[in-house]
Amino acid sequence: MGEARGAVVVIGASAGGLRALSAVLAALPADYVRPVVVVLHVAENGGGLLPELWSGALAVRVKEAVDKEPLLPGSVYLAPPGYHLLVEEDRSISLSVDPPVRFSRPSIDVLFQSAAAACGADCIGIVLTGANEDGSAGLRSIREEGGTAIVQDPRTAEYKRMPQSALEAAGADFVLAPEKIGDWLRRNS
């Protein structure tokens, strides 16, 4: 396997995702040891402001991902609107403008499947609130590769369909409220 590398955290969220995601990320300290990569569905020309919105409010550094950027611990990378975001084996980011997958670009499945292939068991996949089924197939890939799956407890989700669908398709190692997901990440690092 070469040198030991820590796990990468990948998170997918859609409708209602801003609040849930903020709750997860708020639990992470500035010296958090893992990189966190996020697909949040937003309108194609919106969303670019999110990193600024969060700056100051969170301990971890949030930025919009750039192609070929290396993944650093304690940094949160957001997929830019209109691009798929993929993780490479050397722990860097690739973007693509391939057609939308299930009407989404960025697609959670594309991120999760690339992370499963690139990181194998060293991957923690998290599905939060949303009104579609993006992320289900990707979470299944992560589990098949031996990675960890966490799904937001549908009872705590503004939109239940996405977490419910992920649970049906992939199951999960943990089903938790967003704040608890953040706590889990902090404790298991």
């Binding site: 070929k68 973007l95 403008v97 690139a118």
Partner: protein, 283 residues
């Protein structure tokens, strides 16, 4: 559990080897070189081809590539599939008008290279900007792509009418000064862009991976192409661009691409940090 993970790891190494052999077959037989493409996107595309062909593993595609030219052609098309639009990223074209055009106007004659022009939408967008800025007749645009089928569409300049609404919005958001409908004729299904727009555009086949520098360009625009290449190939192609530019030439990348992680970072100054417009520094 550990045995299962070891098995997974072996499967993954095998799949990687299969992908390498398949790409080698495509390259050795047809000269199409995808061997240095960024792994994640490429594997996605290869696995899509595999699923469509009903194959269980990538190595099952190798005999098809070697013995069935139609299959190989289809596969290359699938790997090269591109989606683009007119005036994609309107603020980029606004920057083009306000920051780049004034620099270009200082030259008596200007050569522009659109590398990876796909089906031509960006070339027509560029021609419209230059025409409105009143100096299109001092410009030659070289629009290149390695996909012959895309180039045919580009040369025709005919696009689905359903895209017109978003193209028109993009055009106005980019600072367009006319009525966008002046630039095309449309029926309910298709829109054909006016031939006079392409009077200074040459569409031609060019392979960024294998072809040679292509000289004395004042501006090279290559947006969302290098994202498909791995770091080594990206650096190689940036070297090709660097060698193809005039002294102090301009280079535009996609807005989510950067020179930062490349060997060329210090050779260029940044004219537009957000829209990734660079200019060669004085040596």
């Amino acid at each position: 559990m550990t045995d299962k993970l070891t098995e997974k790891l072996t499967d993954k190494l095998t799949e990687k080897l299969e992908a390498e052999l398949l790409l080698e077959a495509l390259y050795r037989k047809y000269g199409c070189d995808f061997r240095q493409y960024a792994q994640s996107s490429l594997m996605r595309r290869l696995n899509n081809v595999r699923l469509q062909a009903g194959a269980k593993s990538l190595s099952e595609l190798i005999p098809l590539v070697l013995h069935d030219q139609a299959f190989a052609n289809g596969m290359v098309q699938d790997i090269l599939v591109t989606v683009t639009e007119m005036f994609r990223d309107p603020p980029f074209f606004a920057e083009l008008r306000t920051k780049i055009v004034p620099i270009l106007k200082t030259y008596p004659f200007v050569k522009i290279w659109l590398a990876g022009c796909a089906t031509g939408e960006e070339a027509y967008s560029m021609a419209i900007v230059l025409q409105e800025e009143g100096f299109y007749d001092r410009v030659q645009i070289y629009a290149t792509d390695m996909n012959e089928r895309s180039l045919e569409i580009a040369g025709e300049g005919i696009y689905p009418a359903e895209s017109l609404r978003s193209y028109t919005a993009n055009y106005h958001a980019s600072g367009g000064r006319s009525s966008f409908s002046d630039y095309y004729v449309a029926n309910y299904r298709m829109a054909k862009f006016r031939d006079e727009l392409k009077r200074n555009i040459v569409f031609s086949n060019y392979n960024l991976v294998t072809d040679h520098p292509f000289g004395e360009m004042h501006l090279i625009v290559c947006r969302n192409v290098l994202i498909y290449f791995n770091r080594e190939l990206q650096a190689q192609v940036l070297g090709l661009f660097d060698a193809s530019l005039v002294h102090r030439g301009l280079l535009c990348l996609g807005s989510k691409e950067t020179l930062d992680f490349t060997p060329y970072a210090s050779k260029y100054e940044t004219l537009s940090p957000k829209w990734k417009i660079y200019r060669q520094r004085t040596q």
